[in-house]
Structure formats: C-alpha cells, structure tokens
Subunit: 163 residues, 2 copies
C-alpha cells in the first residue's frame, strides 16, 4: 500500500502532502471535488463533517463544519481561485478557530501509468509560525487518516462500478 508523505521543510511556511492513488485521474478529481463525498473522507473518521457550502468554481465559496462526539464544532472555509478539471484546484483555507490565518492550497492531480494518480497538495501559510502551529495542532495524523479514507472511498467506488 502506498503511504501519504508529508513534507515540511524548516523555515519555510509550506506544507506538502503527496500520495499515489490506485484510481484514474478523472475519478480522483471527481471524487475530490464532489460535495456529496466530502463527509465520507474529509477529516478524521470520528468527526462528522457537514458541507455548509461548496461551490467548486473560481470565486465559489466553501465551508465545512466538523462535529465531535461531544457536540463541539470546528468550522473551516475559503474560496476557490481556480478549478481546472482534472488537473488542479487552487483555493484558500481558514480555520475559524484561528481567524485571519489564511493558507493557499493547491492540489495537483498527475496521471501515472497503469491508471494510477499522484495527488500533491501544497499549503502555503502567511508565516512559518502559522505553518508550525498547524502542524503542532496534530493535523498530521488527521491528514494521513483523511488521505487513507480518500483511498478507501476510491476503492469502494471502483468496486461498485465494476460490479
């Protein structure tokens, strides 16, 4: 099984994650950008994720709310800068618990041989401190679980289609 790689160079306000998925690029892009699939993969599994807004086009707003078993809510929002199917999505990202700290996220989808797809997600923060605070918040485990859930969802969809 391929694993998610997380790259965070010291002194750079950049966080990069990359992983190979065993699914064709069109499908990977479609699932990544479909509001109905977000609750199935976005965030760690013990949180319930609700899509409040997700208008996947330049200028479109997105907002997701996560709820933990105790009923606490964590919300995130941003706006899409560019959506280039099936190659690339560029959007802003803000955790409402740290208002004013905004990141720019770029997801790139590269087609590999054998119908696989490499996804590379790069976040640039307004400062190294913001980047390090994000890593310190324990996002790494959550992000890796997110990408694992995404891989499982792709497998489930492909199995259902093949049947």
């Amino acid at each position: 099984m391929t694993r998610t790689k997380l790259i965070a160079e010291p002194d750079k306000p950049i966080l990069r994650m990359t992983r190979e998925f065993d699914a064709p690029r069109d499908l990977v892009f479609e699932v990544w950008t479909a509001p109905e699939h977000i609750p199935q993969w976005w965030g760690p599994g013990y949180l319930t994720t609700i899509v409040d807004k997700m208008d996947v086009q330049a200028g479109g707003l997105w907002r997701f709310v996560q709820r933990d078993p105790q009923g606490n809510e964590y919300a995130f929002h941003g706006v899409y800068h560019a959506v280039v199917s099936p190659e690339r999505v560029v959007n802003t990202f803000e955790f409402e618990g740290a208002p004013g700290q905004v990141a720019l996220e770029t997801a790139v989808f590269d087609a590999l041989p054998d119908g696989k797809t490499q996804v590379t997600a790069t976040s640039v923060f307004q400062s190294v401190e913001d980047r390090d605070a994000m890593i310190g918040s324990g996002m790494e485990d959550g992000a890796k679980e997110t990408w694992e859930r995404f891989a499982q969802l792709l497998a489930t969809i492909q199995q259902a289609t093949a049947r």
Copy 2:
C-alpha cells in the same frame, strides 16, 4: 517623506511591503478598495490600467488589464477571500503571463497616531522560485512607484475634501 520598505528574506516564499501614509485609516481602506481609483495608482504610471472585474467581497473576482504604450497587454486576476473594513483584505493573485503561479496577498491597515496609517502587504507564493521570479521581473520598482502614486492620490483626495 516616508518610503516603501520591501522585505524579502532569503529562502522564504514571502514578499512584504510596508509604508506609512499620511491619511486616516478609513480613507486609506476606501481608496485601496475602490474600483474607480485603481487606474490612478495600481501599477507604474506609464501603463494604462483597466479594471475588468473588481467585486470587493469574499468570493468576489477581480481582474485588471494593463496596457503599455505599444499596445501590449498584461492581465492579472484573483478572488477575494476576506474583506474586513477598514482592517484587512485577503485575496489571491495570478499574473496571466505565468498561469498557475498563484500568490496569497494580505493587506493590513493599522491606524497610527496623528491620523496616519501603516499599510503592510504580504504576498506568499507557492515556492521560493515563484517569489524570486516575481522579484526578478522588475516588480520592485513598479511596486514602489505604485505605492508612491497611492500616497499622492491620498494627498490629492484630502486636499480636494479640505477645500
């Protein structure tokens, strides 16, 4: 006269400009975000700037086209992530001559004593290479001229209001 400071630390994909303006914060914010004023200050004076789009609100698109005396055109666009009057504007930025290279821009307006305002504009790029390419393109002189034109416009507006 105060001068524009440009800060670009090595190995960081960040470019920061800051300057003090002799005008109150509400006015500085208003002029910064008004489409009708953009042709009077945005970019170096030898270029004609046309506002194609400028919808100053979260999710709003902006697009400016600059024309040189030979008729060559240079276009820029992005989307607003947040507009918090009179404190802060966060938006994306893309030069259409380098498609796919996107920056996140944050302008912060701080009120100073004596009715002055400090503006700090921070751009974070997707890589240090992108940042350095932007600096290498000669943007520094253009940016300093831009901020000088902005200061002059503020002075002109204040004189007209005081009359």
